[in-house]
C-alpha cells in the first residue's frame, strides 16, 4: 500500500515553482495588501480606460472549491500560449498575440429565448451574481492533449436561476461574439461564424458547469476567452464556448459549430470518452502538457458525478 502511494506522486506532478510562487504572491496580495491592490487597479483603469484590458488584473476574494482537483496545475505560459481559438487563428500559438488588443469592455450579454424576461446584462452585473470560486479542472481537448487549469468563476446555474427560464426551456445555447475587425480568424470561413455551442438544461444546471471569467487568480487573458466563457470539464474543450455575448434558452436541441462543420466527428454531447474514438484518431489516451508519456483518458474526464445525466443513453450514438 505504502509503495503504491509513493508511486502515485511522480516528480512530474509537483507544481512548477513559478506557479507555486505566483500563487503565493497572489495570496499575499489578496490578504495583506488587498485594498492597495484594488486601488492600484482603479488607478490603472482611470489612466488607460480599458482598451485591452483586464487580463492580468487580480480578482479579489476568490473562494476555494471542493470541486477542484489536486493535480499539478499546468504552467500559465502553456495555457496562454497553446490553445485553440479559431476566431483569432487556427494555430495554437498565434491567438496570444492576435488577441492582445481585443476589447472586453464594455461587454453585454443578451439573454433571450424561453425566459420570463428577455434582457441585456452588463458584464459587471453578471460578475456580481455570486462569489468567485477557484475551480482547478482537468481540461481535455478532442485532439488528444490535456491541461489542468485553475479557472475562476461560479456555477453557470447561478446565472440561469436568476434569469428564470420558462418550463419549456430544454436547452441553452451560447453564442461567441462576431467581430471580424477584431478577430482575424473570422475573416476566413474555416468554421461557420459566430461560434455557437449548446447544453441540455440539466447539464447546464450541473454544479460542475462553470461560468468563467478568470484563471490563475486573475481576469481571463483575451486568448483564453475573455471576458466571459463557460468551462465544462467533463466534455471536450470545444464545448466550452469563449467570449460569450448571447445566452438563449430553447425548446429544441441547438446546433453547435463543430457539429455543423463535421457531424460525423463532433457530436452535440462531446463527453470525454476513452471508449468512443474520433473517426480519425483514438481517444483512449492523452498527452498532458509537460509530460513525456501519454496517460489514459478517463470516462467523463474523471468527473464521474455527471454520469447520472446520461444514464440509459447510448454514448456511442450520442457522442
Amino acid at each position: 500500500m505504502l509503495i503504491k502511494k509513493a508511486a502515485d506522486i511522480r516528480p512530474s506532478e509537483i507544481t512548477p515553482k513559478s506557479v507555486y510562487l505566483n500563487r503565493r504572491k497572489f495570496l499575499a496580495g489578496a490578504g495583506t495588501a488587498g485594498a492597495a491592490a484594488a486601488l492600484g487597479i482603479g488607478l490603472r483603469e482611470a489612466i488607460a480606460p480599458s482598451l485591452t484590458a483586464h487580463a492580468g488584473n487580480k480578482i479579489d476574494g476568490i473562494r476555494k472549491s471542493p470541486l477542484s482537483t489536486t493535480e499539478t496545475v499546468t504552467p500559465y505560459k502553456d495555457v496562454t500560449h497553446y490553445n485553440n481559438y479559431y476566431e483569432f487563428a487556427t494555430s495554437k500559438d498565434e491567438p496570444a498575440e492576435l488577441a492582445k488588443h481585443f476589447r472586453t469592455r464594455p461587454w453585454k450579454v443578451k439573454i433571450d429565448g424561453l425566459v420570463e424576461k428577455k434582457q441585456e446584462l452588463d458584464l459587471d452585473t453578471i460578475l456580481k451574481m455570486a462569489p468567485a470560486e477557484e475551480r482547478i479542472y482537468r481540461h481535455r481537448c478532442v485532439e488528444g492533449w490535456s491541461i489542468v487549469v485553475p479557472w475562476v468563476g461560479f456555477s453557470l446555474s447561478e446565472l440561469i436561476k436568476r434569469v428564470n427560464p420558462t418550463s419549456k426551456a430544454g436547452f441553452v445555447e451560447f453564442t461567441t461574439i462576431l467581430d471580424k475587425s477584431q478577430m482575424p480568424g473570422q475573416q476566413r470561413d474555416v468554421l461557420e461564424w459566430p461560434y455557437v455551442e449548446g447544453l441540455r438544461m440539466d447539464e447546464a444546471m450541473h454544479p460542475l458547469a462553470l461560468l468563467c471569467f478568470g484563471m490563475y487568480g486573475e481576469e481571463l487573458p483575451n486568448q483564453d476567452g475573455a471576458p466571459l466563457r463557460i468551462v465544462l470539464p467533463w466534455k471536450y474543450g470545444f464545448k466550452s464556448a469563449k467570449a460569450i455575448v448571447r445566452i438563449r434558452f430553447t425548446e429544441k436541441q441547438p446546433l453547435n459549430t463543430w457539429n455543423i462543420s463535421a457531424p460525423r466527428e463532433y457530436g452535440f454531447y462531446a463527453n470525454v470518452n476513452p471508449n468512443v474514438d474520433h473517426p480519425r484518431w483514438s481517444q483512449a489516451k492523452e498527452r498532458r502538457l509537460g509530460e513525456f508519456t501519454k496517460r489514459p483518458t478517463l470516462m467523463f474526464n474523471g468527473y464521474d458525478q455527471v454520469a447520472s445525466l446520461y444514464s440509459g443513453m447510448d454514448l456511442k450514438k450520442n457522442f
Partner: protein, 198 residues
C-alpha cells in the same frame, strides 16, 4: 538545416507547450517539402537548361527519406511508445495513418536504390520506372496531411497545389514530346530524348 533548428529549439525549450507535437509536425512538413523539392528538379532543369541541377536530386530525395524516418520515429516512439498492437490498429483503422505509412513505404525502395551501383545494376530504364514511385509517395503524403487536419485545409492544400503543378508540368512535357516524336522517326533520337528528360 531544419533538423539543426529543431534540435536547437529543443535544447532551448523553445518548442512550445507541446514539443512532441512540434517535432512531429516539423519533421512531417520537411518530409513533404523535400519530396516536392526533389520533384521540382526535372522540370526546373528542363525549363532553365541548367543540367547540373540533376546532381542535387539524389541528395534532396535522401533528405526527404531522412525526415520521413524521423517523422515515423516520432510516431512509433513518442506517440505510440512502440506499442505494436496499437500501431497495427491505427494503420488499419485510421486512413490518415494508412496514407502516411504508404507514403513512407514507397520511399524505402527509392532510398535503397539511390546509389550509382543500383542504377547500373537495374539499368537506366528500369531504375527510372521504379523511381516514378515518388509520384505516388508524394501524393500519399499530401493525402495523409489533408486527412489529418480538423478544419483548416490551407496548408495541406498548398502542398497539394504545388504537387499538382509539378505533375502538370510533367504532363505538358510528355505531351509535347509525344506530338513531336512522330516527326523524328529515328528511334535512336527518341530513346536518347526520353533518357535525358526523365
Amino acid at each position: 538545416m531544419p533538423l539543426g533548428r529543431l534540435v536547437w529549439k529543443g535544447l532551448h525549450a523553445d518548442l512550445g507547450a507541446n514539443p512532441i507535437e512540434a517535432i512531429t509536425h516539423g519533421t512531417g512538413d520537411w518530409t513533404l517539402t523535400f519530396l516536392l523539392l526533389t520533384l521540382s528538379i526535372t522540370p526546373l532543369r528542363k525549363l532553365t537548361q541548367q543540367y547540373w541541377l540533376i546532381g542535387l536530386r539524389r541528395m534532396l530525395g535522401l533528405f526527404a527519406f531522412f525526415y520521413g524516418c524521423l517523422h515515423l520515429m516520432t510516431y512509433v516512439w513518442l506517440d505510440k511508445f512502440f506499442d505494436v498492437h496499437e500501431m497495427l490498429a491505427d494503420i488499419a483503422k485510421r486512413r490518415f495513418i494508412t496514407a502516411g505509412m504508404t507514403a513512407f513505404t514507397l520511399m524505402i525502395p527509392l532510398a535503397l536504390t539511390s546509389t550509382k551501383w543500383s542504377i547500373r545494376k537495374l539499368g537506366g530504364k528500369r531504375w527510372q520506372a521504379l523511381h516514378r514511385l515518388i509520384y505516388f509517395s508524394a501524393a500519399a503524403g499530401v493525402i495523409h496531411y489533408i486527412w489529418l487536419v480538423k478544419a483548416d485545409l490551407k496548408k495541406p492544400l498548398e502542398y497539394a497545389f504545388v504537387l499538382a503543378a509539378l505533375m502538370l508540368v510533367r504532363v505538358v512535357f510528355w505531351a509535347a514530346r509525344k506530338s513531336t516524336a512522330p516527326n523524328h522517326s529515328s528511334t535512336g533520337l527518341s530513346k536518347s530524348g526520353s533518357l535525358l528528360s526523365q
